[in-house]
Subunit: 205 residues, 2 copies
DNA sequence: TGTACATCAGTGAACGCGCGTTCACTGATGTAC
DNA sequence: TGTACATCAGTGAACGCGCGTTCACTGATGTAC
């Protein structure tokens, strides 16, 4: 059960399987992920999946975790900007750019559903929390007047708004929207939100 | 091929099938829609589907069209409010309420994907256009300074923002968010957006 | 009013395929003596 | 250094099931004469 001890020379099968699944999802989308393609790419037999991992579902979650970590890294510099307005703009922009550059992997984060009752495993839920926290920083700085309770919600709302615009754009319902246009729209959204939030916080500053 | 002539007494099979599909989606979600369940509920044989309709896909689109029309109707009163700020608030609120009351049918609008190359049929695309136009009215009134080109995009962005918040809430990633809270968040979002847009339009009014 | 024939919506068993998962087996590696 | 045995990652054919779609057939309804 423990697999963190041996110093190995080349990637073990488990890693290669996750690599392969990541590649496949990036290439064909979550719905196009097939066990046979994964093992084919990883260079092992079909059944080997079930030695390395419980399930195809777990494989997807492992890939999603990686994506969340990479997304987090992509947002890190932005979240360290000190002026909250600027931080929010760069955060949102970085988010949009990441989504554009990792369309299918990013989509997989939201498309994946576990079978009915079972919840996200903890290790995966944590990745989410970290992300939300990173996004939340600047907003909290911007609206110190709001109680923590409300802010928790509002951070998610802000995230939802930016996410929704990017999501719709990538679905292609904003047909063929080029990168520059999307980034501009996201910027417009956040600018308006920040201006609005400011004004609401200090009505006659 | 023509089916608009006869005055029939009770719903014909085609209608009953769409009814049944609508019921099934509302009950189990798009992914839970099975041909056998639909025909079972409609009270006909499995094969009858293919007399009434080309495909399960078409059946889904018919249901989605109905949902779009109902959504349009739900937004109609709001879009007739004359003051643009108030109109945007009530529109967004009506949208959130509709989504909450029609979770699975509303989700189906965005979950449905056609197989690879084929595009939406025109009758379905039009339903979308009508909706966007309805949402757009107030925003256009609010920002007469922007060129039509930009406004077209911005309407979609506004829609995307509201949509994203509602979407995330219904996914349950905003765990168990009660209706009142969601409506409040949407209101906060739109309020901030409107205030921001105002301010950007007339910097020192 | 009756007979023969055509049409076609509706039937449901059967087809076919995709695909995740299992499981009896193999063979390389490690351990005991 | 050599032999017997245990372990277990890795194998891949086979299983099993869900499910959309087809197709040869039925039987009610309409039309012609």
């Amino acid at each position: 059960m423990n697999d963190t001890s041996k110093p190995e020379s080349k990637p073990d099968l488990r890693t290669r399987l996750i690599d392969a699944a990541e590649f496949e999802i990036a290439e064909k989308g979550l719905a196009g992920l097939k066990a046979r393609d994964v093992t084919g790419r990883a260079g092992c037999a079909l059944g080997a999946i079930y030695n390395a991992v419980a399930d195809l579902d777990e494989l997807v979650q492992r890939v999603n975790s990686r994506t969340l970590v990479r997304l987090g890294a992509a947002l890190a510099p932005a979240s360290e900007t000190s002026a909250p307005e600027a931080a929010m703009l760069t955060l949102a922009d970085a988010y949009a750019v990441f989504a554009l550059n990792n369309r299918r992997l990013w989509s997989a984060l939201f498309e994946h559903r576990l079978p009915e009752g079972v919840g996200m495993p903890d290790w995966h839920r944590q990745d989410h929390e970290v992300l939300i926290a990173r996004i939340g920083g600047p907003l909290i700085a911007l609206r110190p007047d709001l109680p923590a309770e409300v802010l928790r919600l509002r951070v998610r709302t802000l995230f939802g708004a930016v996410h929704g615009v990017v999501h719709l754009a990538l679905q292609g319902r904003l047909v063929g929207l080029p990168e520059a246009a999307l980034r501009q729209e996201v910027a417009a959204l956040v600018t308006a939100l920040v201006a609005g939030a400011r004004q609401l916080a200090e009505p006659e500053a």
